[in-house]
């Protein structure tokens, strides 16, 4: 790790901020690891009565959303702010669809008459509930990053807010993939 005298060089400062944000995201994986551990403690490997098709659709939506969100950074590097804004809207729409589909599954499970306290459903509601919370925060960050970009204007050298929001959104997508693997596949 290079040590700078004065350490005010923007690229260096950015590296620090980026590393810190990465450590933050890494620490948040612990949250999911903990709940996944609880899942195996409570429900072992059992897969609950939730829709496999819906789960697959949500996964596809989230992967697409994260990929689109990441391309918004490329748009900024190309100096095209309106493309950045447009792609973020697409990413948000895909993410919102995934979010609503999870809620739909919740409603469906509540309507199915199966007790919420069945071990598989307990862990389903808990794990997806946590994910919904992170998705909500991620969506807020994307909206904020988009608004900021349109108001202040990102440049290829300076668009950390967008970068952070897309990193977080990627984390949300990866978290969903982990949730999907644990709840639907394993």
């Amino acid at each position: 790790m290079g040590i700078q005298n004065g350490n005010d060089d923007p690229a260096y400062v950015l590296r620090g901020v980026r590393t810190g944000f990465g450590v933050f995201l890494a620490s948040q994986t612990v949250v999911f690891i903990t709940i996944i551990a609880v899942r195996f403690l409570m429900a072992y490997g059992s897969v609950g009565p939730y829709s496999q098709a819906l789960g697959a659709v949500i996964t596809v939506l989230m992967v697409a959303s994260a990929l689109v969100a990441r391309t918004s950074r490329q748009a900024v590097k190309n100096g095209d702010l309106s493309a950045m804004a447009g792609r973020l809207v697409v990413a948000l729409a895909l993410g919102a669809a995934a979010f609503l589909l999870v809620l739909l599954e919740w409603v469906a499970l509540r309507q199915s008459g199966i007790a919420m306290t069945t071990p598989t459903l307990e862990v389903y509601f808990t794990l997806t509930g946590f994910w919904l919370l992170y998705a909500l925060i991620g969506g807020f960050l994307l909206i904020a990053a988009r608004a900021r970009g349109l108001r202040v204007g990102y440049t290829a050298a300076s668009h950390w807010d967008l970068e952070a929001a897309t990193y977080f959104w990627t984390f949300v997508a990866l978290a969903w993939i982990a949730v999907y693997l644990v709840l639907y596949v394993l």
């Binding site: 790790m1 040590i3 700078q4 005298n5 004065g6 350490n7 260096y12 400062v13 590296r15 620090g16 901020v17 590393t19 810190g20 450590v23 933050f24 890494a26 620490s27 948040q28 612990v30 949250v31 999911f32 690891i33 903990t34 709940i35 551990a37 609880v38 403690l41 409570m42 919420m116 306290t117 071990p119 307990e122 808990t126 509930g129 946590f130 960050l141 904020a144 990053a145 608004a147 900021r148 970009g149 349109l150 108001r151 202040v152 300076s158 950390w160 807010d161 952070a164 929001a165």
Partner: protein
């Protein structure tokens, strides 16, 4: 997010923003109240139940989050974080003077001081609760706590506040925030805004835990054991939420300080030259980053267990699952408490012995290995309910962790030998801390031994053991650090007479109080009881008397430090002739810490007549960096 402010100059707007309509704390209280009431009402509307009280469990939890958000926005999060995130310019003006301590700040020294204020206030508040508990225990039958649940509430609040607001905060959020940037030659931290908000999670957490009995008694103590927690009163919910706020605060501190230590070191501050205290903060920060999210997740799951209610941790689920999750965090937690203290010893001893730090690599390795082993010992809190096959490995790792812990003693003893020890108050407190922690550590040998543990577990022997490690190890070191850095904080110093008197008073009364705990435990005094068999009464009575004297001793030190802070005699810039960087600037340090960033050219821990100064800036600018 939004670490750099928007570069849009709009002076009139800025000036308009500079005049806030209300003092931040009052605005925060108002917004928090609005947040709480609105979200509570929404929850009550969405989840109506017949005959529900105004504050149903779901409403209390949802409302709390509304209150939390209102509080953080009101304290300054709205202008300083949320609006800049959307591209609006952040206000450039900050409060000055005493007002800045009641406001959102990005200055790590102000934030560190705020942490110290809240930690100290909470230490005395939770200490007062301990005094009430000791008053109850003077008699074998109820006196001031008419019902055991009231007493157990007090136990839980005392433990929770002491752990999450004092033991893991004072030396990390407080001294760490204040001193780490100074000690590594940085002008600010990497995440000043997050840090400025994180401190304001502390009062919310303290208030939440303190007020929790209003929602209903909870009787689990600070560990919140399931399934009791799920069937206990709704105050349990505020325990989870209060701890959530406090741990989030510590998590932000750790993220900020870790990144700062990695990226903000001045020229020449290599890993080999990093001060021991900074190593201590770095290792505990890593522990925080790993384990705080774990306990937060476990607590939210427990909260759902109680609120929905799910069956995770009751007879239908895994009652011991919670205990595993809790101690998986809970044991690293005690190293989060004590590692900064161990680091503090070896930070201070070379200064006061005028002798090179002995076996410095061992001292650092000790801290790192303690950190790495601390995640492998948790189940030694569960010897009375685990499988036989698990007893051997967990007792093994538990014994082994005393080896790296011993390295702190190795370095300290090697440094003391043939030194020129200046027995000032901080040095005395470090030696006392070493003595106390020695007893705490050696009694740990007995608890790590499974056959003996099966008798000692859940008795006052354990209570004595961890008070020896936490008060004896951490609080004494914290006091040493406060006396040591007092000239740095204020440019003033304390009275050596009153400092020594305070130290000796606290040392004697502490040992009288808590050595009795061991005997009480061996005689069959179990934990979490407000009433006990009559034969234990006279020993408990005297333990309480010593405890009151101990409380008075802490108060004496507080009054003395406050006096010295405001009116102590002025002192020269570097009264201890210490070598680390925080002494290479004026006292108190200017807003940006250093006018000229110092360059490190040698070790801070090498003493001797021929040894050159470890800091180059001194020679370049003729003596110390000029103060502003």
């Amino acid at each position: 997010m939004a670490q750099r402010q928007a570069q849009v100059p709009s002076p009139p707007e800025l000036r308009a923003k500079a005049r806030r309509p209300m003092v931040p704390v009052f605005r925060a209280v108002l917004w928090a109240t609005i947040g709480f009431v609105v979200i509570n009402a929404m929850a009550a509307w969405l989840d109506p139940s017949p005959n529900s009280p105004y504050l149903p469990a779901v409403g209390a939890v949802a409302g709390w989050f509304g209150g939390l958000i209102g509080w953080l926005l009101g304290i300054g999060g709205y202008e300083h974080v949320i609006r800049p995130m959307f591209g609006h310019p952040a206000p450039v003006s900050h409060s000055t003077g005493w007002r800045q301590y009641f406001d959102f700040s990005t200055n790590h020294k102000v934030i560190g001081t705020q942490y110290l204020i809240f930690s100290t206030a909470t230490f005395f508040w939770a200490g007062l609760i301990a005094m009430a508990m000791r008053f109850q225990l003077m008699s074998w039958r109820p006196t001031i706590f008419q019902y055991p649940q009231n007493y157990l509430n007090a136990v839980g609040i005392h433990g929770t506040l002491m752990m999450f607001t004092v033991a893991t905060v004072a030396m990390i959020g407080g001294l760490g925030n204040y001193m780490v940037p100074l000690m590594i030659g940085a002008r600010e931290t990497v995440f000043p805004k997050a840090s400025g908000l994180s401190i304001w999670l502390v009062p919310i957490g303290v208030m939440t835990v303190t007020m929790s009995p209003l929602l209903g008694n909870w009787t689990t103590g600070w560990r919140g054991y399931e399934p009791l927690a799920a069937s206990d009163g709704n105050g349990m919910l505020f325990y989870y939420l209060g701890v959530f706020a406090l741990t989030t605060s510590s998590l932000i501190v750790s993220l900020n300080l870790t990144t700062t230590i990695i990226f903000k070191r001045t020229k020449g501050m290599t890993w080999n030259r990093l001060p021991i205290f900074v190593w201590g903060i770095l290792t505990v920060s890593l522990l925080n980053i790993i384990w705080l999210p774990e306990i937060q997740a476990a607590f939210i799951i427990s909260l759902l267990d109680k609120l929905i209610p799910f069956n995770f941790f009751n007879a239908l689920g895994q009652p011991l699952g919670y205990a595993e999750l809790f101690w998986l965090f809970g044991h690293p937690e005690v190293y989060i408490v004590v590692v900064p203290a161990l680091a503090m010893w070896n930070e201070l001893l070379p200064v006061f012995t005028r002798k090179s730090l002995f076996a410095r690599p061992m001292a650092v390795l000790g801290l790192v290995f303690v950190m790495m082993l601390s995640g492998m010992v948790w189940a030694h809190h569960m010897f009375t309910n685990m499988r036989f096959s698990e007893m051997l490995p967990f007792s093994f790792f538990t014994e082994m962790i005393s080896i790296p812990t011993g390295f702190a003693y190795l370095a300290a003893i090697g440094t003391l030998w043939k030194s020129r020890l200046r027995l000032t108050t901080p040095a005395l407190l470090v030696l006392m801390s070493m003595f106390n922690f020695l007893i705490g550590g050696l009694t740990g040998l007995f608890l790590a031994d499974v056959p003996a543990n099966l008798q000692l577990h859940d008795t006052f022997f354990v209570v004595g053991h961890f008070h020896y490690t936490i008060i004896g190890g951490m609080v004494f070191s914290w006091m040493a650090a406060m006396y040591y850095w007092l000239p740095k904080f204020t440019g003033r110093t304390y009275s050596e007479f009153w400092g020594k008197l305070g130290a000796i008073w606290v040392f004697i009364t502490f040992n009288l109080t808590f050595s009795n705990f061991f005997i009480l435990g061996l005689r069959g005094m179990n934990r979490w009881v407000s009433s006990y068999p009559h034969y234990l009464m006279s020993e408990n009575f005297w333990t309480s008397i010593y405890a009151f004297l101990l409380g008075a001793g802490f108060l004496l030190n507080l009054v003395h430090i406050l006096w010295a802070w405001n009116a102590g005699p002025k002192v020269k810039e570097n009264p201890w002739e210490a070598k680390t960087l925080e002494w290479h600037t004026s006292s108190p340090p200017p807003a940006k810490n250093f006018d000229v960033l110092p360059e490190v050219v040698g070790s801070f821990y090498v003493y001797g007549d021929q040894v050159p100064e470890p800091v180059a800036a001194a020679s370049q600018i003729g003596g110390r960096a000029p103060s502003v």
